[in-house]
């Protein structure tokens, strides 16, 4: 637990969320000389981006982009980071904000922990690793993942057997079983909400029967399978470890459908599916890879060429809508698709080893009752001013990245920079007025 920060700390800006948008905002503000506190609910900063294998359309290593940003934020003299910390409330009084935080106990003294992982190796309790989407295992006390920041062990009390072995092997005496949750009240002049997104459940459409098969997976699960340090070290089928010979992507599986409450387009699914298909064709050269789509939305710079490259590589694009996915004999998956490409035979059934559902992006955090900023009809933080696209309905509260709506990494980073500039301008004007007054 980081105890260096207490309620006497009063940064210029508090950034809620340590993903790529939050980190970019924090770095841009800190480089202007402002003090910034980044609050992250997980045990490491990095957000979803650190979970990804590569990014589109350049196919750059995601970790190679994210890790330097994480490290830069962690070592910046103007940035403080609180991980494993939840926001309980943001109270605004005359454009001044009090951010009430709950720091959860890690049962490890971060000042003493050297990240040696001897405690992790000695622990004999394992559970499904949330970072690996449950595919791999992690021990009850562990450094969250390889390039986590901070590189400190965290004890998960829910899974801990309380045997005490970790404390017996720790060379620095860092294990503190008596840690308690800590409440802090941080006073600040501005807040940036960079709380990101989550994906809706793979089970959201019952006709896809994801609850019946481990091989109907989310795109974030496939990201971990494709990652060089992923759970299996290669792409395997989660139900039995088979090297898949046929993989399907079902687009719009959690978006553009009013019946599931997500009528909007999630904007990134087409591109990440194309990216994942290209990466799969490299990882599994003999596999058939099919993308079932309604329309391909390749709107960004270089995206259309990326799509054309995928077609040229032999990725099979089938225009149509998947009506049903059903596990069948031999652990295969039957995909029934209504295609517009064959007028005589529109209803077609295909067999695949692995199916990836393009789930919809939904808000990662519900600010209702916590902060006085409104949400739009889609549940994301509302940004009603066309000329101030990162300003929320609450003065001094700004938003960046996917917290304001579905967007890709490039747009999230651009918007994070914009939020930092708007905060900077806001604080300059506010402090000028205060000085004049």
């Amino acid at each position: 637990m980081n105890t260096a920060i207490d309620s006497s700390y009063s940064p210029d800006v508090v950034v809620i969320g340590g993903g790529i948008a939050g980190l970019q905002s924090a770095l841009d503000l800190a480089d202007q000389g402002m003090s910034v506190l980044v609050v992250e609910r997980n045990a490491s900063i990095g957000g979803h981006m650190i979970e990804l294998s590569k990014v589109f359309p350049t196919l750059d290593c995601a970790s190679c982009i994210t890790t330097p940003k994480m490290s830069a934020a962690a070592h910046h003299p103007n940035i403080q980071i609180l991980t494993y910390t939840e926001v309980e409330a943001i109270e605004s009084i005359e454009e001044h904000h009090v951010v009430r935080l709950l720091q959860k106990p890690t049962y490890v003294n971060f000042d003493k922990c050297i990240g040696c992982r001897l405690c992790e190796y000695a622990c004999d309790t394992e559970y499904p690793d949330p970072f690996e989407q449950g595919l791999g295992s992690v021990r009850a006390i562990a450094v969250p993942f390889t390039n986590a920041i901070p590189q400190k062990a965290v004890l998960d009390a829910e899974h801990c057997g309380t045997c005490g072995t970790c404390a017996r092997v720790c060379p620095t005496g860092a294990i503190e079983f008596d840690q308690q949750p800590r409440r802090l009240s941080i006073h600040t002049d501005a807040v940036i909400l960079a709380t990101g997104f989550q994906l809706n459940a793979v089970t959201i459409k019952p006709q896809y029967h994801a609850s019946l098969s481990r091989d109907i997976i989310s795109p974030l699960t496939l990201e971990r399978l494709l990652a060089p340090h992923g759970p299996y070290g290669r792409v395997l089928r989660p139900s039995d470890g088979k090297i898949p010979s046929s993989v399907a992507f079902v687009q719009c599986a959690g978006s553009r459908d009013e019946s599931i409450g997500v009528p909007y387009c999630s904007r990134v699914c087409c591109m990440y599916a194309i990216k994942q298909a290209m990466l799969l064709s490299g990882a599994l050269p003999l596999a058939d890879i099919t993308i079932y789509y309604m329309d391909i939305r390749a709107f960004g710079k270089g995206y259309e060429q990326f799509y054309q490259n995928a077609k040229a590589m032999g990725i099979n694009f089938v225009r149509g809508k998947v009506a049903r996915i059903q596990p069948v004999d031999g652990s295969d998956l039957s995909v029934l698709v209504e295609t517009t490409e064959d007028a005589e035979n529109p209803m077609q059934e295909h067999r695949h080893d692995l199916v990836v559902l393009a789930q919809g992006m939904v808000p990662g955090w519900n600010p209702k009752g916590i902060v006085n900023a409104d949400c739009a009809g889609d549940g994301f933080v509302a940004t009603p001013q066309l000329t101030a696209p990162t300003a929320t309905t609450a003065p001094g509260i700004f938003v960046a990245g996917a917290a304001a709506g579905p967007k890709d990494i490039v747009d999230s980073i651009a918007e994070a920079g914009a939020a930092a500039m708007q905060v900077s301008e806001y604080l300059y004007q506010k402090r000028s007025l205060t000085t004049v007054g």
């Binding site: 049962y107 992982r117 001897l118 190796y121 004999d124 309790t125 394992e126 499904p128 595919l135 791999g136 295992s137 021990r139 390889t146 009390a157 829910e158 801990c160 057997g161 309380t162 005490g164 072995t165 404390a167 017996r168 092997v169 060379p171 294990i175 503190e176 079983f177 008596d178 481990r214 340090h229 759970p231 299996y232 070290g233 290669r234 395997l236 989660p238 139900s239 039995d240 470890g241 088979k242 090297i243 010979s245």
Partner: protein, 105 residues
């Protein structure tokens, strides 16, 4: 590294933590027992020869996805290594004794 003895303060703190968690539930105890039994069974099975996940699942009478989860964890923490392929499946074998490092990281 040898095991140190817990101090009286650490023992007390550990007891209090255990109490705050409501003790060790029977469910948790059974889950841990199941984990250790499965891991021991896999190690014993692979002493004779490498095996695929379906073969491990059949031999230990457990679902294949669970066998894969155990193999994944054992590989991560240096107990198993990949040992080639058998058809569409990977073969797993015991890691050499000196290979204790975290191979997945």
């Amino acid at each position: 590294m040898g095991l140190k003895t817990l101090t009286a303060e650490q023992k007390l703190a550990l007891t209090k933590l255990r109490e705050s968690l409501g003790g060790i539930s029977e469910e948790k105890r059974q889950a841990q027992k199941h984990l250790l039994t499965a891991r021991k069974g896999i190690l014993k099975l692979l002493e004779s020869q490498p095996a695929t996940v379906p073969q491990i699942a059949v031999a230990l009478q457990m679902p294949a996805d669970e066998a894969l989860w155990h193999v994944t964890g054992m590989r991560k923490y240096g107990k198993l290594i990949e040992a080639g392929e058998d058809g569409d499946y990977l073969l797993y074998a015991l890691a050499p004794k000196e290979e204790k490092a975290d191979s997945a990281h």
